[in-house]
């Protein structure tokens, strides 16, 4: 196909030849929107000088993303960059002509809070559906109350913000996904927020300040990912929750709590998670679960649980007990991941024979994939691996990754000896 290069004649009407070769300008509006939305905002706006037809096509794109690609230069002078950025965003919002469905603001140099207020006001008038606001610098940004008026919001993502909705705030009726990281929010506000968003399906909460007791009341919640410092977590009315990932970033002191509260955290945790499918217990959360009474197995088996990942200290008796309870309660487990927590101090009760004993009355009937990482070849760890290998008849792959090179050879030699219940099992050793 030959490329026809035409003379520049700004004022003539497009001839038939042009129309023949120009296939792109007459594509349907929504397709052009798609194409332009996939370009960085700068390229999208520049399309306005391409030709007459393209002059205002960019102004219709429903999705505006202002991130680090916005400015194609870097400079040492922060205020200069900031001014440029503010200028660009002001212009784009002003010239834009049409509904805005997605707005993302995530530039590393962005600081100016009053400017952001203005932009949020602008988009709140425009039936916005997705807002992503990431403030990389400075203290917590408090979004203006107009953000809470956006009743069409489906996805809200805030990073480094302070949430204080107005008193009249009744929730986001259409919100399906909420992602709050590095935020400050009070207990009441958080509870009210979650319970007043009836369509909420995904909730992510990381590094939060102000909430100590997490009460999750969300009937449609399916995905829950949380990491931070809290004292308690309880699920009310979360029948559909299928993916839970919880990380407790602070080491709790078991002794203190035992005296006060003897109820079983483990039982309470699982009572409202009947259909859980993937569970990740990170950092010190297993310690939290081990508090109080730990049954040998949960009264209601987690029949849907297919993936389990646990961060554990193999020397801690209580944690081992809790882990065993869990392992016994998921008959349909397909994948298991055990991550050894690096030891900070010697735990209260060193249990070195826990996994040596025969705990098993039934087998891991469906377990296919296992990963064990961060181990150092301690007896309890090796016992666990031995236990695992001899109780999983359909195991396909066991991956072992030690924490360091120390004692590698010993570890490997031991691994070699273990009996395997599954003839298909591969034991893969990864370098630390």
């Amino acid at each position: 196909m030959s490329i026809v290069i035409k003379q520049r004649e700004p004022s003539r009407l497009p001839s038939k030849t042009d129309a023949e070769f120009d296939r792109i300008s007459n594509l349907p509006g929504h397709v052009i929107d798609q194409i332009l939305s996939r370009l960085p905002i700068r390229d999208a706006v520049r399309s306005s000088v391409l030709s007459r037809k393209w002059r205002y096509k960019w102004a219709k794109i429903p999705c505006l993303v202002f991130d680090n690609h916005c400015l194609n230069f870097s400079s040492q002078d922060q205020s200069f960059i900031k001014n440029k950025l503010v200028n660009i965003i002001d212009h784009v919002l002003l010239l834009h002509n049409g509904p805005i469905h997605k707005f993302k603001l995530s530039h590393r140099d962005l600081l100016g809070v009053t400017d952001i207020d203005r932009w949020i006001l602008c988009i709140s008038r425009s039936s916005i559906k997705e807002v992503v606001l990431e403030i990389w610098k400075g203290q917590r940004y408090k979004p203006p109350s107009c953000l809470f008026n956006c009743q069409n919001l489906v996805h809200l993502e805030l990073f480094n913000c302070l949430l204080e909705p107005p008193l009249m705030f009744k929730g986001f009726k259409n919100l399906k996904s909420l992602d709050l990281q590095h935020i400050t929010i009070t207990q009441d506000v958080f509870e009210k927020l979650v319970s007043s968003c009836p369509s909420l399906e995904r909730l992510t909460l990381m590094n939060f300040t102000g909430v100590t007791h997490l009460v999750i009341d969300a009937p449609n919640l399916q995905f829950f990912d949380i990491g931070g410092i809290f004292e308690d977590v309880s699920f009310l009315n979360t029948v559909h929750l299928s993916y839970v990932s919880i990380g407790l970033y602070v080491n709790i002191d078991n002794e203190e709590n035992d005296a006060r509260d003897n109820s079983s955290k483990l039982l309470r945790f699982f009572v409202n998670l009947p259909h859980i499918r993937r569970l990740e217990i990170q950092s010190y959360f297993l310690k939290y679960l081990a508090m109080g009474y730990v049954p040998s197995r949960l009264p209601n088996l987690c029949v849907d649980l297919n993936h389990l990942s646990i961060r554990i200290d193999f020397d801690d008796l209580e944690e081992n007990t809790a882990a065993l309870c869990l392992l016994r309660s998921c008959p349909n487990l397909l994948e298991l991941e055990m991550l050894a927590r690096p030891e900070e101090q010697s735990s209260m009760e060193r249990s070195t024979n826990f996994w040596e004993e025969d705990h098993w009355s039934s087998l891991f009937a469906h377990l296919r994939l296992v990963k064990v990482s961060g181990i150092s070849g301690v007896k309890s760890e090796m016992d666990f691996i031995k236990f695992l290998l001899s109780n999983s008849p359909v195991l396909e792959q066991l991956t072992v990754k030690p924490a360091s090179q120390e004692g590698e050879w010993e570890l490997m030699k031991e691994l070699l000896r273990f009996r395997r219940a599954s003839i298909y099992a591969e034991v893969i050793y990864l370098d630390p």
Binding site: I3, P10, L13, V31, D43, N97
Partner: protein, 359 residues
Amino acid sequence: MSEVDMAVIKPEMMKSYIWLQTADGSIQQVEQEVAMFCPMICHEVIQKGMGSSKNYAISLPQRVNPAMLSLILDYCRFHQVPGRSNKERKSFDEKFIRMDTKRLCELTSAADSLQLKPLVDLTSRALARIIEGKSPEEIREIFHLPDDLTEEEKLEPLKNTTDDPRIRLLNRLYAKKRKELKERQKLKNIEVEEERVDDRSVDDLLSFINGDNGDSKGIKNSKSKKKNRRRKDQQKNTSANEAIKNHNKEPNGLNQVCCSAEVGQTVRAGVGATSNLHDVEDDIFDNKNELDDGDIDDEIDPALKEKIDREVEDFARRLNSDWPERMQEILSFGHERKPVHFSLNGNDSLRRYANSEQR
């Protein structure tokens, strides 16, 4: 035939096929599961029961030509197999999308008309990748875009557009005809048009236009108005008449009543209410045309465009050719005409004029 061939043929005979017809008339049959991957074809089969035989072949949208159809079917044939891994699909997509930009645009258009969203996503991403990071000149060259903005326009950022497709169409028609008019007017003496105020809103005018679209009575009405003016102006020189004629060729066949005998004409002293008929809309269009000259409206159905074009040409031709006969017609009609088609709201001026014409 080898055993393998036999094995292949037997299952083929058991398959069911769907018949598809492209815009150029050619018909082909496609395996059912492949064709049903396209939502539009699926809809036709299920909701309307089409596609089961050659006579009932599903007519594909115009944007799908045989070459594009064959590409789309290749895509469907690969992706409708459920067992493929994501990696396989991605690598197929990467290879599939390698084609020249012209075909890529055609493919996007065809996939969109068949509502095959995954393919539209794939092609739009590919097009975006092509556009990204390039200078305007490079992009124009790749996509054959005309460089038809003046330098000032390239700098001019803001335009007040209501985005009404009807206005845009009218702009276009007006622009075309205005060009012709300009050429002729260069040779004639035209009296300066007087400022007249028409306080009808654009919306009013448009609803009026749409009420009268192609309506012959509307045409006659305008003629009768013109007739009145003519009688009063018979002292005027022929150039004025010709100017009227020329002006009557004004584009807006839809806009006849508004612009007929208005712009460029002198005041009819006696017909006071005529002043209310002046079409400020023309002025508006005038101004818009400064900016929009040649603005191609890409959202008007081409069929409708052609129809309107034809009507306009028609009207112009008729006026030009048989004016004297028309005069007679008009004179005889004029007295009986009732102004029924003015669907404007609260525009007393127009109605008043029509009433006076009745007398």
